[in-house]
């Protein structure tokens, strides 16, 4: 069958590739690390540390706290509240979520398209 031609001998190929990987395996990773540090010099020393994990633990947390909101409004008086940037999903720094920032609660009563009569 034609498939045989396209497939190289897996054993040979794996052997060569393996050696290559071991030699160069770590160099591409280090090169990538250098690239990243060049772009973001302030990236923390402990990459796997608290920052990632805390972000993970707070995944999906978008909150509107009326207390915070009203206090901030009172303080700000006529000034604008710091509002969310283009990425509304990230709540950072002084930004206090406003009712406009929260995503619309969507109706979840639509039947899944997997159950629809789609072309198979």
């Amino acid at each position: 069958m034609s498939q045989k031609q396209e497939e190289e001998n897996p054993a040979e190929e794996t052997g060569e590739e393996k050696q290559d990987t071991q030699e160069k395996g770590i160099l591409p990773e280090r090169a990538e690390e250098a690239k990243l540090k060049a772009k973001y010099p302030s990236l923390g020393q402990k990459p796997g540390g608290s920052d990632f994990l805390m972000k993970r633990l707070q995944k999906g947390q978008k909150y509107f706290d009326s207390g915070d909101y009203n206090m901030a409004k009172a303080k700000m008086k006529n000034k604008q509240l710091p509002s969310a940037g283009p990425d509304k999903n990230l709540v950072t720094g002084d930004h206090i979520p406003t009712p406009q920032d929260l995503p619309q609660r969507k109706s979840s009563l639509v039947t899944s398209k997997l159950a629809g009569g789609q072309v198979e």
Partner: protein
């Protein structure tokens, strides 16, 4: 594994695809979990919109035995709704993180489905008869005036069109502060565990108002947090044993007979790392996204960002087998970090005989590794191979240098097309592969 013909090589063929064709994917339609039941007759999917769709394999047509039965929609229901925790000002997604089937005990089917915070036990039952001939009710349900009843009759059951009903039988709520990533049913079929980022709880299927905490890795001071729980599973045969994996690439095996709180592991599985090889990405790519016991219970498989590892439960210091899923991504880690793909959580699965393992990749590719022959294959879930019984052509990614005809270069890979969820029928060579919003079913070629 593929196409050299002859022997035990499997040839995978397209069978079915479910879901919308259009490229504009609504978030709710993103498939978040896929699971066969214990017999393989039922296939459940969960999505980001909190919905569950169950497919049932139709009975094999003995006359036309060129293929196994097709999977058609059996039941669909809204399992979870979006919620808001007012106390913590926290939005709770309705996305179904995991579905696990209970073994069948009677005519009905039961499954557990979970979102970030709440686990639900659903009963799926068939109704094909209904009572007719009530004395005090009309057929349309209106009540009759008892004084107008002059004769009595005995109501009888009459056949009706099959109706499949799903009803929530238990709701296990308020036991998790963090986000649930795993549920696993014990081999005793009475208890199950649920795991979030920092804790694992043990439940009894009948009891919803309490659960036992069996693992707690939350540090007293959250600033000292260094790792989280990423997956957990009960051993398939030993009801006292379970494992949990971490974001640091370790797996801990715990024995519930040792103590009530299993904070001290019985075994710690970790592959030693050469410290000189460490980079910024090391820990992130070592994070285990899935752990699955083999059916035999002798081995377990873990999935980290670039590889699949098979561990012998008797050997803690290194895996017995390691398979590279997409090693060519190692030289792309910087951009994968920037677009967050490096945090994608791929799952993995065993075939029924534990001889082949499968996992997903990008560009709607998925990979299979045959543990006996050591051969591997890359296939693609795509509507281009739509004809039933069309044998899938193996795919190849060209890491560098000259790209051969039919190969695809790393830079052309579509990182938005990820296959995170795959499932293998417990007995047959039938696999379910989920792309972002479509479910593909492939079968081996039956001659």
């Amino acid at each position: 594994m593929a196409g050299a013909g002859g022997g035990n090589d499997i040839q995978w063929c397209f069978s079915q695809v479910k879901g919308a064709i259009d490229d504009d994917v609504a978030e709710a339609d993103i498939i978040s979990t896929v699971e066969f039941n214990h017999s393989g007759e039922l296939l459940a999917t969960g999505d980001k919109g909190g919905r569950v769709v169950i497919f049932q394999q139709e009975q094999e047509n003995k006359i036309q035995s060129h293929s196994r039965g097709e999977y058609n929609v059996y039941s669909t229901f809204q399992s979870h709704e979006p919620e808001f925790d007012y106390l913590k000002s926290l939005e709770i997604e309705e996305k179904i993180n995991k579905i696990r089937w209970l073994p069948q005990k009677n005519a009905a089917q039961f499954l557990l489905s979970t979102n970030d915070k709440t686990i639900k036990l659903w009963k799926i039952s068939e109704r094909d008869k209904r009572p007719e001939g009530y004395n005090l009710k009309e057929e349309d349900g209106r009540y009759r005036d008892p004084t107008t009843v002059t004769t009595l009759r005995v109501p009888v059951f009459r056949p009706m069109d099959l109706m499949v009903e799903a009803s929530p039988r238990r709701i296990f709520a308020n036991a998790h502060t963090y986000h649930i990533n795993s549920i696993s049913i014990n081999s005793d079929y009475e208890t199950y565990l649920s795991a979030d980022d920092l804790r694992i709880n043990l439940w009894h299927l009948e009891i919803t108002d309490r659960s036992f905490n069996i693992v707690d890795i939350k540090p007293a001071n959250m600033e000292e947090l260094t790792e989280v729980i990423t997956a957990a599973e009960f051993h398939p045969n030993s009801c006292n044993t379970f494992v949990y994996s971490s974001s640091k690439g370790t797996i801990r095996l715990c024995d519930m007979r040792a103590s009530a709180l299993c904070d001290r592991h019985s075994k710690l599985f970790e592959e030693p790392e050469d410290p000189s090889n460490r980079s910024f990405f090391s820990e992130i790519i070592s994070s285990i996204s899935d752990v699955k016991f083999s059916h035999s219970g002798r081995y377990m498989m873990t999935r980290d960002y670039l590889s699949v590892k098979i561990w012998d439960l008797n050997m803690e210091n290194r895996p017995v087998e390691t398979y590279q899923v997409h090693e060519y991504l190692r030289s792309k880690l910087c951009s994968l970090y920037e677009n967050d793909c490096i945090f994608d959580k791929f799952e993995c699965c065993w075939n029924g005989s534990d001889s082949v393992v499968m996992t997903g990749s990008y560009n709607n590719f998925f990979r299979m590794f045959d543990r006996n022959t050591k051969r591997d294959i890359t296939l693609e879930a795509s509507r281009e191979n739509n004809k039933p019984r069309t044998v899938l052509k193996p795919r190849k990614v060209c890491a560098s240098g000259k790209r051969k005809k039919d190969e695809i270069s790393v830079d052309s890979l579509d990182f938005n097309k990820k296959i995170l969820h795959t499932a293998w029928h417990p007995k047959e060579n039938i696999i379910a592969v989920a792309t972002t919003n479509n479910l593909y079913i492939f079968q081996d070629k039956v001659n």
